[in-house]
Amino acid sequence: MKPTESESVSGEFSFETTSSDVEVTWGERLRDFYEEFIYKPGLVAWNDRRTKIGGAILMVYVLMATVGAWFYRVPTSNQATRGLRPFEVWSAPLGSTASGEDILAMVIHATPSMLIMIATGGVFATGVAVLIGTVAGYKGGIVDRGLTSFSDVMMSIPGLPLVMVLAVVFSPTNPAVIGILITINYWAGLARAIRSQVLTLRENSYVEASRTMGASTPRILFKDIIPNLMPYVLVNFANAARYVVFTSVGLYYLGILPTSVANWGLQLNNAYKQAGALVGTGALYQLIVPMLAIMGIALALILLSQGLDRVFNPRVRTRLAGGSESTTSNEDETTASNEVMT
C-alpha cells in the first residue's frame, strides 16, 4: 500500500518539526487526525452507496441498543397474550412467544450485549493483530520469526471448536469477555496480513528518515507505520465484527454459552426446539424475526467493509474523486472476502 500524497506530506511535516524541536500541539494533532481519518474518508464514504446503506443500518442497531433498550419494556413471560402472531395487536407488534414474551422486546434487548460483544471482539482482534503484525514486520530477524511462528500456530487451531471448548470450560456471561473469547485466535490471520503490509512500508523514505534520526521503535510504529495501516485495519475490524456476530449467535443457538445473556441465537433456539417452528409452520415468525436481526447487522458490516475498502484504497479513491482510468487493485478485496469465510 503506497501512502497517498497527503500522508507522505504529513510524514515530512513531522520530520521538520522534530528537527526544530517544536512539538505539534495536541489540538493540531487532533485536527490533523480528524482531517485525515474522519473528514476525508467520511466525504468519500458518503459517495459510496454501500457505506451509506451499511452505516444507516448499523445506526438503526445502535439506536435499538440505546434508545430502544432504554424505553422499550424488558421481555418477561406473560407480558402479552401467549402465542400472538405478528401485527395482531400494537402492544406486541411482532407477536409473542408461547410463554407470552414480547418478541420485539426480546430482539431489542439482545442488541446492547451484541454490540458490546462486537466492539470488544473487534478491538481485541484488530488490536492484537496490529501489535504483533507491526512489531514482527518492522523488527524482522528473530523477533519476526518468533511472532510469525506464534501467529501460524494460532491460525492453525480451528476457531469455532476451540471457542466451543473454552466456552464450556469457562462458561463466560460477560458479553465483553465472550467477544474476546470468540476472537481468541481470529487475530492471527490478520496479524500475518498486516506483517506483510509493514514489510513494504518499512522501506519508505520517511520511515528511514525517522530511523536515521534515532526515533524509538514504538514512536516509528505509532507515528509512521500504523497510521498508514489504519484503512486496512478498519476494513478488517468490520470483518472481525461479522465473525463475532456469526459465531456468538451460533454458540447461543447451540446452547453452549450460558443462557443468562439475551441473544438472537437463544431466540432461534427457543423457536426451533421449544415452539416447534419447524414442525408446524405456525410458529415460523418466531424464527424469522431473530433471523432478520442477524442478517441485518451482518449485511451492514459486509457493506461497510466493502465500501470502506473502496474508500481507503488510494487508487480507487482517485477514481472516485473523478480521476484516472480504472485498473482496480483487487488484492485487498480478495483477502477481505477470503477472511470473511473464516
Binding site: I157, P158, G159, L160, V165, L278, T327, T328, S337
Partner: protein, 333 residues
C-alpha cells in the same frame, strides 16, 4: 528444498503444540475435566483406586504419576492412535471418529468443490461484464447471500423442504434400514440426506468467493499481457482460457484448501441443525455431556485436518502457480 523442510517442521510443531494444549486443558485447568470426572465417579460410589483406573482408561492419564510421566503417556498413546475412551458412548474415541469422519469429509469436500465451480464461472462472467446490470445485480446478490450465516439458511431449508414440502429428509445420514454399500439405493439415500447441508454451505459461500474471483479476473484483464495477446490477434477463446482464467483461478487455490479446513471447524453447528452424525455432531454431543475424552479427541482431529490442508496448500502452491517461487521467498527481507 529448505522451505519444504521448514514448513514440515512447522506443521509438526503445530500439531505437537495442540496436543500439549489439550493435555494442559484436561490436566491443569482448575475445576477442569479430570476434577469433574472424579467428582462424577465418586458420586456414583466408586472407590478411589477404582476411580484412578477408570480415569486412566478414559484419558490415557494415570493421575497418581508425576506430571511428565502423564504427559509422556498421553502423547505416546495418541501417537499409537489411541485417543482414549468416551465416557458417554460405549465405543472408543478413535472408532467414533473413524465412523463419523468420512461423512463430514464428504459434505465438506463436495460443498467446497461446488462453491469453487460456481464461483469461478459466476465471477468470471461478472468480471467480463464489469459495470453492467448483471454485474451490479450479481454483486448485490453475493453480498446478500454472504450476510446469511449458513446455519440460519440451514434452518430455513429444513423448514421449507423437509417440513413444508417434505421433499428431502430433515435428519440423519441415511434412512433407517438402508444398508451401507455400493448399491444405488444407498447412494441415492445418502445424497438425499446430504443435499440440504451441502446446499446451505454452497448458497451462503459461493457469492463471496465469486466476488473474489471477479476481483482476480478484473485485475488480470487489466494486465499488459492480455492487451498484447489481443493485439497479436489471438482468438477470444484462447485469451479467456489460457490467459485470463488460468491466472485468475490460481490465486484461489489456497483458499480452496483452507476453506475445507474452516468448514470442518463449522461442522458442529451444521451437523447439529441437521442431526447429521459427523464429527461435528459428536463434538457437540461431547460438549453437552462434558465427555472430555471425546471432545479433546475430535478437537485434535479437526485441528490436524486444518493443519494438513493448509500444509498441502502451502507445499503445492508454488508448483501450481509458477509466479510464486517456493512460498515465502517473495517476502523475506
Amino acid at each position: 528444498m529448505n522451505y519444504y523442510v521448514e514448513r514440515t517442521i512447522r506443521a509438526l510443531l503445530t500439531v505437537w503444540l495442540v496436543i500439549t494444549l489439550t493435555f494442559g486443558m484436561i490436566r491443569l485447568l482448575p475445576g477442569g475435566p479430570l476434577v469433574q470426572l472424579r467428582a462424577e465417579l465418586s458420586r456414583q460410589g466408586y472407590s478411589a483406586s477404582r476411580i484412578n483406573a477408570l480415569i486412566e482408561n478414559y484419558q490415557n492419564v494415570q493421575p497418581d504419576q508425576p506430571l511428565y510421566v502423564q504427559y509422556f503417556d498421553y502423547v505416546t498413546s495418541l501417537l499409537q492412535g489411541d485417543l482414549g475412551q468416551s465416557i458417554t458412548n460405549p465405543n472408543s474415541v478413535a472408532s467414533i471418529i473413524g465412523d463419523a469422519l468420512p461423512w463430514t469429509m464428504f459434505i465438506m469436500i463436495t460443498s467446497v468443490v461446488l462453491i469453487f465451480a460456481i464461483a469461478i464461472v459466476w465471477g468470471a462472467v461478472m468480471a467480463y461484464r464489469e459495470g453492467s446490470t448483471f454485474d451490479v445485480a450479481s454483486s448485490s446478490v453475493s453480498i446478500l447471500l454472504g450476510s446469511m450465516p449458513f446455519y440460519v439458511l440451514a434452518i430455513g431449508l429444513v423448514v421449507l423442504f423437509s417440513y413444508k414440502f417434505q421433499i428431502l429428509p430433515a435428519r440423519y445420514r441415511t434412512s433407517p434400514g438402508v444398508e451401507a454399500g455400493l448399491s444405488v439405493k444407498f447412494i441415492v439415500d445418502a445424497l438425499r440426506h446430504a443435499a440440504l447441508p451441502i446446499a446451505s454451505l454452497v448458497i451462503t459461500g459461493a457469492g463471496l468467493q465469486a466476488l473474489a474471483m471477479r476481483g482476480n479476473s478484473i485485475s488480470v484483464l487489466g494486465e499488459d499481457y492480455v492487451r498484447v495477446a489481443r493485439l497479436r490477434g489471438l482468438s477470444d477463446r484462447r485469451i479467456s482460457t489460457r490467459y485470463v482464467a488460468r491466472n485468475a483461478i490460481l490465486p484461489m487455490y489456497t483458499g480452496f484448501l483452507t476453506l475445507i479446513g474452516f468448514y470442518f471447524g463449522g461442522s458442529p453447528i451444521l451437523e447439529e441443525v441437521f442431526t447429521y452424525p459427523g464429527i461435528g455432531y459428536y463434538l457437540f454431543q461431547a460438549l453437552e455431556n462434558r465427555d472430555y475424552p471425546l471432545m479433546m479427541g475430535i478437537f485434535l482431529v479437526i485441528t490436524i485436518a486444518l493443519v494438513l490442508s493448509v500444509y498441502i496448500a502451502d507445499l503445492t502452491y508454488g508448483k501450481i502457480d509458477p509466479r510464486i517461487k517456493s512460498g515465502e521467498s517473495s517476502e523475506t527481507y
